[in-house]
């Protein structure tokens, strides 16, 4: 009997280790005003934030669940632990981080990456940041990279936080944005002054170790005029049988002529519901580049949104999604053209295998003011077997005639003709198919930071067996 080419599932052994949590560190599960007040007290929130949390809770209770996308019926939010007390204060010296937490990040390679290739690192373990550090020369250039809560309590930044926090993603945006507003904890604050160009990236890594818990970190990045930043975000969790929830929020403010590259490798375990919200607003001549790899989680709803608000602002989105057994990954991007001469480019690839469901979902909105705007969307999907599913759901809403909008999408399997050609050049059938799959993901993987690109190549390992049919 002939065997088909097998593309292996992602090897998660690197991420599937965990340390036992002391349950006394948990606040109760569920979303009640009492829990919210307790979180607020624990964090010593300023009064405006305490009120914000309670108002968000009201919105959460009034807002219906989404009525599109993958089912989240298995997610019982009332049983999710929304906050886990900090085991130690936030540290700037790696040696001061508690051993079990330190070991976790050592195994994930975070300190090594900091030493070798990063300008600064933040590490969040469950609900709180445990480590934040930035290179001396970077700090001296005026760049602020710290945890959001410290910034909120620092009089130098308190007003900036109040002015920007959940202004791009208001709690009324959707039910899980409201939940985030009520229970958020941890996350990073980055401020890049005008004209500062950070040549090496900053990275935040989010690790959810606790069973049946949620992670609700908030990332706020502000780039002043003509500055540049590459920010890398990594996420992982060990696998449990209980559902976990990630409902983080990312708000990016890109100033005039500034440029921000935001790279994410999401590798949550397959019990996680990843309901994350990311949004960027870009001023005149500014640019946002999203590079997104979605490999983990049980269910994902993830569509980074770019609002091009200034003349000539640009957005690029490059994404890859790999859905294997038990995964339903609904990913894509949203672009809003709100000013003249704005441009956007979206390029995505998705792979489905072993019963996995991959959905590309996008929207491009071109408003009346966005005359002279251009947008191009390209998405390709590859089905590796007959038990998986791959859907493409793009939408374009155009409200001006002076624009140029293009869209193309393709779905299919590995082409027999391409295999035949490569075999005629001396490759075996197995090698030919492996090369085609790698090539399919190549233009996305080359946009990833090098260490992540290598990791991705390892993740999409190929096993070739016997004759292929």
């Amino acid at each position: 009997m002939k065997e088909k080419t097998q593309v292996s599932d992602i090897d998660r052994s690197l991420y599937d280790f965990r340390y036992e949590e002391d349950e006394r560190d948990y606040l109760g599960s569920g979303i009640t005003p009492e829990i919210i007040k307790e979180i607020s007290e624990e964090k010593n929130d300023p009064e405006w934030m305490r009120e914000f949390r309670l108002r968000s809770l009201e919105i959460y209770n009034k807002t219906p669940m989404v009525d599109w996308g993958p089912s989240i019926e298995e997610l019982d939010v009332d049983n999710i632990v929304t906050y886990i007390r900090q085991k130690s204060r936030m540290n700037t010296d790696w040696d001061d981080v508690p051993d079990d937490i330190k070991n976790t990040f050592e195994r994930l390679g975070i300190p090594q990456a900091e030493r070798e290739s990063l300008a600064g690192v933040g590490a969040q373990y469950d609900s709180e940041l445990v480590y934040h550090n930035v290179r001396k020369e970077v700090a001296e250039s005026g760049v602020v990279y710290t945890d959001l809560e410290s910034a909120m309590h620092d009089e130098k930044y308190a007003d900036i936080i109040k002015e920007h926090f959940m202004k791009l993603v208001p709690p009324t945006d959707h039910k899980f944005a409201a939940l985030h507003g009520a229970v958020w904890s941890g996350g990073s604050f980055v401020y890049v002054p005008a004209g500062v160009h950070l040549d090496i990236p900053l990275q935040s890594y989010f690790r959810l170790n606790a069973k049946g818990a949620g992670q609700f970190e908030h990332t706020l990045i502000i780039l002043e005029e003509n500055s540049y930043l590459h920010f890398i975000e990594g996420c992982s969790a060990p696998k449990y049988y209980e559902a976990g929830l990630h409902a983080g929020c990312v708000e990016l403010f890109v100033g005039k002529g500034a440029s921000l590259r935001y790279s994410t490798i999401e590798n949550w375990s397959k019990n996680m519901f990843n309901l994350n919200t990311k949004r960027a607003i870009v001023s005149e001549g500014g640019k946002i580049e999203w590079v997104s790899g979605s490999f983990g989680s049980h269910v994902s709803y993830l569509y980074p949104m770019s609002i091009l608000n200034g003349k000539g602002a640009r957005a690029e989105f490059t994404g890859i999604t790999f859905a294997g057994e038990g995964q339903n990954l609904d990913t894509g991007a949203k672009i809003v053209h709100n000013a003249p001469d704005t441009s956007s480019y979206m390029n995505t690839k998705s792979i489905s295998k072993s019963g996995g469901i991959s959905t590309f979902r996008s929207s491009v909105t071109v408003n009346e003011k966005a005359v002279g705007s251009k947008s191009s969307v390209s998405c390709e999907s590859l089905m590796l077997d007959g038990i998986s599913r791959s859907d493409t759901i793009p939408a374009m809403d155009i409200r001006t005639d002076k624009c140029d909008i293009g869209h193309e999408a393709k779905i299919g399997r590995i082409s027999d003709e391409a295999v035949f050609y490569l075999m005629s050049r001396g490759l075996s059938e197995e090698e030919a198919k492996a090369m085609i799959v790698r090539g399919f993901a190549d233009n996305v993987s080359k946009e990833l930071p090098l260490e992540y690109a290598v990791e991705m190549n390892n993740l999409i390992g190929l096993e070739m067996k016997g004759s292929i049919g």
């Binding site: 859907d391 493409t392 809403d397 155009i398 002076k402 999408a409 393709k410």
Partner: protein, 291 residues
């Protein structure tokens, strides 16, 4: 209000494309069955219900000219094995219509659909061919020319169930003034439709800064061995094209007129029937000899 034109896989609610809402009364028209004769024409000015059937290895062409306000037109079609069923539907200016066309296409049968929406004050049109047979095919050419406050919502869902079934959907149109159009086109490859192919394309020319265009091209896929593609191009005429035409001595306003006209002419030429073409030309204020 009744929800019509439901998107088979709903998306972000704020886009307003998941369904269209209209007040709808029951279609009480008597059912008309058509299964014989190679060419049948129908002039539809009130509610209508049709049952079309192209018999095995036979050809049937039905031309429907739909005019006047407020009506429902429900068509249920069947293309038996080896047959070819051609359905032409012209929606005349000012026709406020809730139209539905469902079809079942058997082994080696073909459904050819040609639709032209001239205006369509407020038209909702759903088209749902089911390619259930081996090597069944569906080819659609759809054109629209909207102006004033015209509003059009089209929801086309091609369900591929049969092995080696083929669908090809070509849509092109022109939006002027404050017209508002939504085209939702879905190619749905069901599990088992191995060897199926589906392609969809929409080309929209925008002629006013107050138009509203929504394009939602879906591919749903539960089968490995398929090929699906969709493309969309929306905007004004590209500058190189304008420059070329101007260099040939054609003024800019004429360039737009000619390009807009080419979008509808492509569909009109496919209709073929002289009487119908003449009626369309009259509506468009053209003479039959216009080139």
């Amino acid at each position: 209000m009744t929800k019509l034109n439901k998107l088979p896989a709903p998306t972000y609610g704020w886009l307003g494309v998941n369904y269209a809402e209209r007040e709808l009364s029951d279609n009480k028209a008597e059912l008309v069955s058509v299964s014989e004769g190679s060419l049948v024409k129908a002039d539809i000015t009130s509610d209508a219900r049709y049952e079309l059937s192209a018999q095995e290895n036979k050809e049937l062409t039905v031309i429907m000219y739909i005019s006047d306000e407020d009506k429902r037109v429900d068509v249920s079609a069947k293309a038996e094995s080896g047959s070819k069923l051609t359905v032409v539907q012209v929606f005349d200016k000012g026709a406020r219509t809730a139209a539905q066309l469902t079809a079942d296409i058997a082994d080696s049968a073909e459904l050819r659909l040609i639709q032209l929406y001239i205006g369509g004050a407020d038209t909702v049109s759903e088209i749902n061919p089911v390619l259930s047979g081996y090597s069944s095919s569906f080819k659609a050419d759809i054109g629209y020319l909207l102006e004033g406050e015209d509003k059009l919502d089209i929801n086309l869902i091609a369900d591929h169930k049969g092995r080696k079934s083929i669908s090809e959907i070509n849509v092109s149109g022109v939006l002027a003034d404050t017209s508002d159009k939504t085209f939702k086109g879905t190619i749905d490859f069901k599990n088992g439709a191995s060897g199926a192919k589906g392609a969809e394309k929409e080309d929209v020319l925008l002629l006013s800064e107050k138009v509203r265009n929504k394009t939602v091209p879906l591919i749903l896929c539960a089968e490995e061995d398929v090929e699906g593609s969709h493309g969309a191009s929306i905007g004004r005429i590209n500058e190189e094209h304008i420059f070329y035409m101007q260099s040939r001595g054609i003024p800019e306003d004429k360039i737009y007129e000619l390009t807009a006209r080419s979008k509808t002419d492509r569909i009109i030429k496919l209709i073929g029937d002289e009487e119908t073409v003449s009626r369309i030309n009259k509506t468009l204020g053209r003479s039959d000899d216009d080139e």
